[in-house]
């Protein structure tokens, strides 16, 4: 490691300055605002206090934190369960087909996030096609609601997060040596056994990064519970928005955001530490 010279300082200054002022400082400010109280006009009162942080222990927030954690965990697991066989399949196709399939995976992901959520709202609508199909198949009754419940939130979460799982996983599956699978077959392993004992350990790195990326971005989700879920499906993100905009209690919103930031930093730091090791 050398000392930075003048040219390096000039090159780095614009972007570093921008990110310090508009990213690092705001994050630190959020953490410090959590130790203030709001004043009556929706601003921040002077003076330091533990009250705002203590109010996070309110029984109102505990179920929300729990729900945020389980929805994110289940989303991560199901995304991996779908992404693994997909990447296995993609890697074994001819390059032409593989590129076409990858494009098909990425294209819906490029469509506006809110429009994809709207699409699911019309799909799961009481008069929408999914409901009609399920009723026709006699799988659900006429009065079952597909929207505004935790199941719907999970489905749409998986829908929006799946590319985040497929892309990092595919990067490591592409490097996997598939002749090892043939070797396993020749040695008498069944397809499932070869998948579990040879393929899964081989792409461990990709599985871990995919899991961390999906989990972290699920933790901060609030748009999907807001538009797809019911009142009982709120996550931490929804509470942050309500405190900031409905109650105009900025310090409490900052305290919640600070708690989320600390939750998120654990997996992010694990990822950073692993990258340095590799």
């Amino acid at each position: 490691m050398s000392k930075p010279n003048r040219q390096e300082l000039l090159l780095s200054a614009p972007s570093m300055g921008w990110l310090i002022v508009f990213f690092a400082l705001p994050c630190l400010l959020t953490l410090t605002l959590a130790f203030h109280q709001s004043d009556l006009r929706g601003g921040v009162a002077a003076g330091w206090t533990w009250d705002t942080v203590n109010s996070l222990a309110d029984p109102l927030y505990l179920p929300v934190v729990w729900r945020t954690l389980w929805i994110s965990t289940v989303t991560t697991l199901l995304c991996l369960a779908l992404a693994l066989p997909m990447c296995w399949c993609l890697a074994r196709l001819t390059p032409r087909w593989r590129n076409a399939m990858l494009l098909l995976v990425v294209l819906p992901f490029l469509t506006n996030f809110l429009i994809r959520i709207f699409a699911w709202r019309s799909l799961l609508h009481p008069e929408g096609p999914v409901k009609q199909l399920l009723v026709w198949l006699h799988l659900v009754g006429d009065d079952v609601l597909l929207l505004n419940n935790a199941g719907a939130v999970l489905v749409v979460m998986i829908y929006t997060q799946l590319p985040f799982a497929i892309l990092p996983l595919y990067a490591s599956v592409e490097k996997f040596d598939f002749t090892l699978i043939h070797a396993a077959h020749d040695l008498g392993a069944s397809g499932w056994r070869a998948f579990r004992r040879v393929f899964l350990p081989g792409v461990r790195q990709g599985i871990i990064s995919a899991a961390i990326i999906v989990f972290v971005s699920s933790l901060g989700q609030y748009v999907i519970p807001q538009f797809i879920g019911g009142t009982g499906d709120e996550m931490i993100g929804n509470k942050i928005v309500q405190r900031a905009f409905t109650d105009r209690n900025l310090p409490l919103a900052c305290a919640l955001a600070g708690a989320l930031l600390l939750c998120v930093m654990v997996p992010v730091l694990i990822m950073a530490w692993r990258e340095r090791k590799v």
Binding site: S2, K3, E8, L11, S12, P14, S15, M16, W18, L19, F22, F23, A24, P26, C27, T30, P85, W88, C89, R92, M101, L104, V105, V106, L107, P108, L110, T111, N112, F113, L114, I115, F118, A119, R121, S122, L123, H125, G128, P129, Q132, L162, I181, H182, G191, F195, G220, Q221, Y222, V223, G237, A244, L250, A253, A257, L260, L261, V264, V268, A272
Partner: protein, 265 residues
Amino acid sequence: MERKKGMKRFPLPLIITVLVLISLHAPLVLLVVNSFNASRFGGEWEGFTLKWYEKLWQANEVWESMLVTLKIATSATLASMILGTLAALALHRCRSWLQTAHHTLITLPLALPDILMGMSLLAMFVALGVETGMLTLWIAHTTFCLSYVTMVVLARLQDFDFTLLDAARDLGASRWQATRRVLLPLLLPGILAGGLLAFTLSIDDYVITFFVSGPGTTTLPLRVASMMKTSRALPMINALSTLMIACTFILAAVSFRLQRRNRAA
């Protein structure tokens, strides 16, 4: 032969892949079909119509939002292209402790959920007494686009042959001339690809925009969100979505072309 045998032995992944690909596209296909459906709720097909497009054409607030979105996306893309290119050059060329910090600052915004960036920027603007509006939107969008542009340009720089710059200097070019006449033209496809990504992300963003937008700066995603709350506007969203999906496909095709030409060069 070998490849086929493996597939046949294990058809489950193929079935899952096909089913997932169908369900990835089915919701979007439904939107496009419903935008031509005379039925208001799209429960069943009641005949072909263009009336939702007509209504959309007359909805002035949608086009005002479109204008705001394009203004923000263009200005944020330009700013992040400049900042991101400089950042990528610094990260690629220099190896001091400063760049370790620089790299962390660039990658952290990619790792943190959007809501945290939105909330912390809002906290700062409120603390400083800055009115939310065009300026705060531009700042926020430039901030989240910056990291993506840097990553794309940095990837391009891996393939760049820096001896070309030395050659230009040996032939008598000044440092500035070598940068402007050799480095920038060769790097341009990478910078443009980064800019295109930034533009797409800026148009798409709802979460961060929601926190830092003010009165009169309703972007298109914010407009769609408020339209979703009134059932009268729902068929118009189908029409708007169809137009936006078409734009996305065109942009994707352009960037695909750009990258392929770059690879050939």
